[in-house]
Amino acid sequence: METNNTNSFEPKVVAFVCNWCTYAGADLTGTSRIKYATNVKIIRFPCTGRIDFMLLMKAFANGADGIIISGCHPNDCHYTSGNFHARRRWMIFRNLLDFIGMDVNRIVFSWVSAAEGAKWAEVVNESVDQFRQLGPATAYQKLIKNSEFQEVE
């Protein structure tokens, strides 16, 4: 990961995106030569409906400071309804995380179509800024550290 040689914190960001819209959109960002933050590691899924909440939990458990989830706009899903199902799941999931005291601002949800290369750059840049402001996910890192200690024992 590129850092600009200062002490400023660079968040580790994972983006879970769907193959048909956001992944293609992110591709367009690249082919249009629009620059955006390099913090993000993109993981491609067949559909937002396939993005199980446990994958998000595992991203946090592996040290992510922030997560971006993105797929096709409503009514544009390649499989007709995957994003509608995903939307319901996130509505419940987000509130549950908030209830257990996790900062839901560490997860950004967006709809980015295959034509929205510029929007993708914007989403990533603004999310990375947001995560940078939030700082490292120290509360979670403490749990990770304790779990490693136990598993070695």
């Binding site: 549950l96 709809w111 749990l143």
Partner: protein, 267 residues
């Protein structure tokens, strides 16, 4: 012999019914589930305020699954769970009879799912005052305090899975916690893995939890984990107008969608 015991005796003597699942007096003033197959044991049955366990979980257990002609003595938690299990095709219409109780203590016989559903519609659905107060106490905390609260609670969990075993809605033959390719939930119990386990349990019960509180009662360490599933249950109601245990043909809130579902956080 009281009404219930007489009724049970008659049912077993008639030969039309072979098993009665109900409550008997347990130790230290608590009731415990009992399985009665002989008419002369009917006098063991009790039904009072101590019978607050949700015993719907036994209906589909291997040991009695194939018993023909069952009777279950049901409190309001058990009734709601039966409705939700019916909606999810885990129990079958006509496989068992339910003995419920009217406010005045009269026994109500419910033979079909339609009758059960109708009776359940007359019951109160929602949290008790004490439960609602617990929810509010947590929701009113700052984010940091909530985290500290749950971190402390999760650190105590020993992953005995009694909460799962006690919940009528946790019936999957292979639970995600037993899957090790990949290992979704760590085997040893540490706060991180326990947190993941509880987030997963709650998510899998979204739109399905009937807010009976049995999971919390079953926990040997008294973790208030029922509040997590209450949270998803309350949200399912608020967002999707879905209340588990009210309809024998409802779809689970997360298995359906509406194009007009409204959120305010997706950019």
């Amino acid at each position: 012999m009281n009404n219930l015991q007489q009724k049970a005796q008659q049912l077993l003597e008639s030969g039309n019914y072979g098993l009665i699942v109900g409550y008997e007096k347990g130790t230290s003033g608590k009731a415990r589930p009992v399985f009665i197959r002989k008419a002369e044991h009917a006098s063991k049955l009790i039904f009072d305020e101590s019978c607050d366990q949700n015993i719907a979980v036994y209906l589909y257990r291997q040991e009695i699954k194939h018993d023909k002609k069952k009777v279950i003595v049901a409190n309001h938690h058990t009734l709601k769970s039966i409705v939700e299990l019916a909606a999810e095709n885990q129990v079958f219409d006509g496989d068992f009879m339910v003995l419920a109780f009217a406010e005045n203590g009269d026994i109500i016989e419910l033979n079909t799912f339609k009758e059960i559903e109708k009776h359940v519609a007359t019951l109160y659905h929602g949290l008790t005052e004490a439960e609602a107060a617990m929810m509010k106490k947590i929701e009113d905390m700052s984010l940091e305090d909530r985290w500290a609260f749950w971190e402390n609670e999760f650190s105590k969990c020993i992953k005995c899975y009694a909460c799962r075993a006690s919940c009528p809605m946790c019936y999957c033959p292979t639970c995600t916690v037993e899957i090790n390719q990949p290992q979704w939930i760590s085997v040893p119990s540490h706060t991180l893995g326990n947190l993941e386990w509880h987030v997963m349990r709650a998510m899998h019960l979204a739109g399905r939890c009937v807010t009976c509180g049995q999971c919390g009662k079953a926990c040997p360490l008294e973790l208030p984990i029922q509040l997590l599933t209450y949270k998803v249950a309350l949200d399912s109601k608020q967002f999707f107008d879905s209340v588990a245990g009210t309809s024998i043909c409802a779809d689970n809130a997360l298995a359906i969608y509406k194009p007009e579902d409204h959120e305010n956080f997706i950019r």
